[in-house]
């Protein structure tokens, strides 16, 4: 599908990752070519030499009271903090905007899995006496978006999506559409993911954690999408405008060329490309952008299902005024996304 976007701008960004809090530490990490991986404690996987992109710099007490933090899972804490930072970055005061006109569409990676395991562990170990009802609401993947909406008062469209390594891009597409249709003036979008020992153990059992491959990471990247009219009304600083979102679900045998044509998305007009998920490993994507400057946040902070928001936010923050950037994201079995943005467009 080829969704040409008009009059949707990006007015705010935020990032929580193993690089630290904010886009700047992430950009610096990429510019210096270093990474923010730390060794996974050996008791997690029963072996040494494995790494992860753990957001160790995130101190939840900087963002909420201990009482509130206790009720939320880690990815909800990320989402509440990152949406708050993004609103701040966009200069949006929720008291000055109808809450029904602000929504959230968030890619949710492994959200809910650790809470599910914790809840079930109580039952498997101690029967019904071991059940902790307080954990149960955090077992749903929409807990991060919902907690963010409760905390900040977003009463517009509210949705959480999962689609492999493209969870954030799937949410981005929907957020654009909600603004295009007039369902909201402002949509917070992106993705969030947490990385806790039980998730690592599961991934390891599935053979997806290897010493030689790019480590898994965690964090939250949020973009504030806004209708150009809304941004103009409040005199917002526009960081970029969205030009198109293209996607296919999977490559179909005999129709590969059709897919590459669709996803190439006027690449010749781009000055920068960002990769997310397994996009760099996809032959058709590799051949699309052989000589352009590229950003691959996964190599610096780790990959995971909802990390596309961090990649997109980094691309937007790195694009010079007027330049076109392309964000390419993929998962081994699909889907595939190509999102075009133009830096600093005026409204």
């Amino acid at each position: 599908m080829n969704n040409l976007i008009k009059d949707i701008v990006i007015t705010g960004l935020s990032a929580i990752s193993s690089a630290g809090i904010g886009i700047s530490p992430l950009k610096e990490l990429i510019q210096t070519g270093s990474d923010a991986f730390t060794e996974i404690p050996s008791d997690v996987l029963g072996a040494e030499g494995y790494f992860w992109g753990k957001a160790t710099g995130f101190k939840v007490s900087d963002f909420m009271s201990p009482m509130k933090a206790r009720k939320m899972d880690r990815s909800s804490q990320f989402a509440v903090a990152a949406t708050g930072l993004a609103l701040q970055n966009a200069g949006i005061d929720m008291k000055l905007i109808p809450p029904e006109r602000v929504g959230i569409a968030l890619g949710s990676g492994f959200c809910g899995i650790s809470s599910s395991a914790e809840f079930l562990t109580g039952y498997f170990r101690s029967g019904v006496e071991g059940l902790l009802p307080m954990i149960f609401p955090n077992t749903v993947p929409n807990a991060p978006a919902s907690n963010a909406s409760i905390e900040h008062g977003f009463k517009g469209p509210n949705v959480s999506l999962i689609q492999r390594f493209c969870s954030a891009e799937t949410a981005f597409l929907m957020a654009c559409r909600f603004i295009e249709e007039g369902r909201a003036d402002v949509m917070l979008t992106g993705g969030t993911d947490e990385l806790l020992p039980i998730i690592l153990k599961g991934l390891c059992a599935l053979g997806q954690v290897k010493r030689s491959s790019v480590p898994f990471g965690e964090g939250c990247g949020v973009l504030v999408l806004e209708s150009a009219a809304s941004a103009r009304r409040r005199g917002a600083v526009v960081m970029a405008s969205v030009e198109s979102v293209r996607s296919i679900g999977m490559l179909v045998k005999g129709h590969e060329e059709e897919a590459v044509d669709l996803l190439s998305n006027r690449l010749e007009e781009c000055s920068m490309v960002s990769f997310s998920g397994s996009a760099r490993d996809v032959p058709c994507f590799r051949s699309l952008a052989p000589s352009l400057p590229t950003i691959d946040t996964g190599n610096h902070i780790g990959r995971s299902l909802g990390m596309g928001g961090l990649s997109l936010a980094t691309l937007v923050a790195s694009l010079p005024e007027g330049e076109r950037g392309l964000h390419l994201s993929a998962s081994p079995q699909g889907p595939y996304y190509s999102v075009a943005v133009r830096g600093g467009a005026t409204v």
Partner: protein, 401 residues
């Protein structure tokens, strides 16, 4: 942008009240309850021992052994129900594969298998890692796309109990906007120890079959299943001579921003979403014949939903039946919205308003028409279907013949 009219050209259903669309349609007509004692796992420690399980389910009735072993229970349900809808529509090969997509709502997904892995892991036993393959709901979406060679949009809505109604609304929008020629949209979820123990721990599971809008109701009965509909533009469907079951006229969704588990007691957000859905559908409230409620049977939900009906329909509220097919199917969580949307389309086609089963007496706080006494014959052509979720997610669909 000119919006295309979106029609439904195929239906698929698999749940405790019926293993396909015909069986489920008959269950609707006969007011058959699919809530029975559970044997899917050990429920003896819990006060409630019932639910709507797909009984006598043998994957080998649908898949070869190799495929069945690869797919989680949830993935199997999804492929079966989406397959029924796609075969019914005869849409295979009609469009380019990249113009045909999947929009699915999911819930606990392959947690049923994942629980075996976790239990073994805790006991120090090494289990098959393949038990974790379907742990996330997007696996079912991928499996549906792969099985039926649908190369277009692929997305999984994960907003708990409103997931699949949102997936249908969104799927319809992908067709209405011309971004896809065909979307198979719906949802899937299975009974799991996680959700069974979880809702029991919150004390919202009724030990008897759930009795929405009744006096003395104590909560939900859990269920499982999958339901899908094939969505195409009216012009494309007519051009290929497809059978048309009805239309998705529009939808709306929002977050209440109130509480993770309790609905806003005023019903204002629910009413706003229902009104917005009508507006997006270009339908006046006076044209709505009945509403398939979220209708869980929890004391608070049913009062809030009744209150929202009064705000939306005003003096006419008591003449617009608010029924709950969850009294037949149980609460199928991530699949609930899709099961109820497909149930609504089937009921519209059979010109009935389904009965809300297991009546226990009149609740003075639920003072509308709930069809507790039996199905009603109707000639109305438009109905709504509501879905609410943990986190305050609210979705409302407008469906018509």
């Amino acid at each position: 942008m000119i919006r295309k009219r979106v029609v439904i050209t195929g239906l698929g259903m698999l749940c405790g009240a019926g293993k396909d669309v015909n069986e489920f349609g008959d269950a609707l007509l006969n007011s058959s309850c699919g809530i029975e004692p559970l044997d899917i796992f050990d429920v003896s420690p819990f006060p409630s021992k019932i639910g709507s399980q797909i009984k006598r389910y043998d994957p080998l009735d649908y898949f070869d052994r190799h495929t069945a072993e690869k797919l989680s229970r949830s993935d199997q349900f999804g492929v079966i129900a989406a397959g029924e809808a796609l075969r019914d529509s005869a849409v295979a090969g009609v469009y380019s594969p990249y113009q045909m997509g999947v929009s699915m709502g999911g819930g606990a997904a392959g947690m049923f298998q994942g629980e075996f892995w976790l239990k073994s892991h805790l006991d120090g036993i090494v289990e098959r890692p393949s038990l974790l393959r379907g742990i996330l709901p997007d696996q079912s979406t991928t499996d549906i796309a792969r099985t039926f060679k649908l190369g277009g949009y692929q997305g999984t809505v994960a907003t708990a109990c409103s997931s699949s109604s949102t997936a249908i609304g969104w799927g319809a929008d992908l067709v209405a906007s011309g971004h896809q020629k065909m979307v198979v949209a719906g949802g899937v979820d299975t009974l799991t120890m996680l959700t069974f123990a979880g809702f029991n721990s919150l004390r919202v599971v009724d030990p008897a079959p759930c009795s929405p809008f009744s006096l003395g109701r104590q909560g939900i009965s859990l269920g499982e299943g999958a339901a899908f509909m094939v969505l195409e533009s009216e012009e494309d469907a007519l051009a290929r001579g497809a059978k048309i079951y009805g239309r998705v006229l529009g939808y709306s969704m929002a977050g209440e921003a109130h509480h993770m588990t309790a609905p806003d007691p005023t019903g204002l957000t629910v009413a706003r979403v229902m009104r917005d859905a009508l507006q997006y559908s270009s339908v006046d409230a006076s044209m709505i014949g009945w509403v398939n409620a979220h209708g869980t049977g929890t004391p608070l939900n049913d009062v809030v939903e009744s209150q929202a009906m009064k705000i939306v329909f005003g003096e006419r509220a008591a003449q617009v039946p608010l029924i709950s097919t969850k009294s037949m199917t149980g609460h199928c969580l991530g699949a609930a919205g899709a099961i109820e949307a497909v149930a609504t389309v089937i009921a519209l086609n059979r010109h009935i308003i389904p009965q809300t089963l297991s009546y226990r007496g009149r609740d003075p706080e639920c003072d509308l028409e709930y069809c507790h006494s039996g199905i009603q014959k109707t000639d109305c052509k438009i109905a709504m279907s509501n879905s609410f979720a943990f986190g305050g997610n609210v979705t409302s669909l407008v469906l018509s013949l």
